[in-house]
Subunit: 142 residues, 4 copies
């Protein structure tokens, strides 16, 4: 039986940028991933909320993990779109992504990013993107 | 006469996340912005290229500066879309954004992100997004 | 009590392009809309499935109805993104859109487009977009 | 020597929906396509401008032609994003798309859609999307 969470955490640990920001893989199963991040002061923009770039990193990476849960480890984000919804004020950012449609070489995933403080959570961004396998035929990179 | 570059650099300096990553505003004029970043080892993904999250940060922020050059300082990114094109291998990432269409409260901008090593440069991502003024009527946040 | 469906059908009837294609509003409530279309031979592309332009029309319009259910009748689509997932082969296209996050002047909605034949249905596209109120402050148009 | 325009017009003629709307391929070369459409009354929305669905059809199809000029005839639109910029009021819609980055199986293109009346033209939409080859490995459809 595949231990998704253990494998996923090894992959996250192999991404220098994810380690640099302190991202954690909370849940990982066939078609689903949750990654979270403590909101440190250096992750903010000038208005006191999380910078959009932190949110887009989290969306991008969680989309790619959801895609990888179906396609296998050799994958990249080909493209995504994100809408920022509410000010990302909170102690942590939590992103949940799931597979909407899967082929053998490419999957489309959606992602919600929440700003969380204790029991309260605010939906602060919504993303949708394409994850592709990087076996020989693929060409883009993330 | 407005000194765009000086004002822009003060705004970038007020963004903790941009300071954390070491982003620099190279050029800033009516309708145009260029922001760059040295590619430090901690900005990479597991395949040795810049992580998509670093590229998406840079696209998001450069889009917002281009938009702000027209709308004024109180702006946020409402949404954007990014396509990753080529492996982002290089010494620096350089993003150039320009305004495609402007209204009084909202502008649409496009952005190219290049991976640069000496004289060589690779177009590694393309983005398109909406920047909105955050005077009283606006509600989303970046 | 507001009769959403009746009002919505009047609005759809006032859109020449929706009439031209024969779109029907099946369901309409606070935060939700379903619009469908019989797949006539003239709506296809060269491979025998529905043309992407028919699917994108349906996504765009259903997103705007979902947004309008919250914002009121004077709205437009500001932007959207669509991923085509599977060949749109079927008797009808059915699009369902819902509001993901609402402000007073702008909402973000998501939409699924299904190709339906009898009891069978295939998820053929996924869209996400921004609907804005076109009271005096708004500037874009759809 | 390849006669792009002649081949392209045969492909456009083989798309029932493009024929239904009366789309015309004006220019077609390596990496570039221009498709236009007379704005008939049945193409409008309730406010008197072209319906977003007509504009998105034109963006989708012109993107796919630009992509096809590089990838060859067996291609589909995998995904795209569109921003509506200004009211599409005019006699004709003219869309111009070009290739931004090309691989052997997938290209990313951008597209501008103009509303044209005589010598006047208004940039009414901007799109960006991915066109993929539908040789055996591909799975999505447009």
């Amino acid at each position: 039986m595949v231990n998704y969470l253990e494998i996923g955490r090894q992959i996250l640990a192999s991404q220098p940028f994810s380690q640099f920001l302190g991202a954690q893989l909370d849940e990982f199963s066939q078609g689903f991933a949750q990654i979270s991040l403590s909101l440190r002061p250096e992750f903010l923009q000038q208005y006191g909320a999380a910078h959009g770039g932190v949110i887009s990193y989290l969306a991008d990476n969680t989309l790619s993990f959801a895609g990888g849960s179906v396609l296998g480890p050799g994958i990249i984000t080909s493209e995504f779109k994100i809408n920022y919804l509410k000010k990302a004020l909170g102690e942590r950012l939590v992103a949940q992504a799931k597979v909407a449609s899967a082929g053998t070489r490419q999957v489309v995933c959606t992602c919600e990013v929440w700003a969380v403080t204790g029991e309260e959570k605010i939906l602060c961004a919504l993303a949708q993107g394409t994850i592709v396998s990087i076996a020989p035929a693929a060409e883009t990179n993330n």
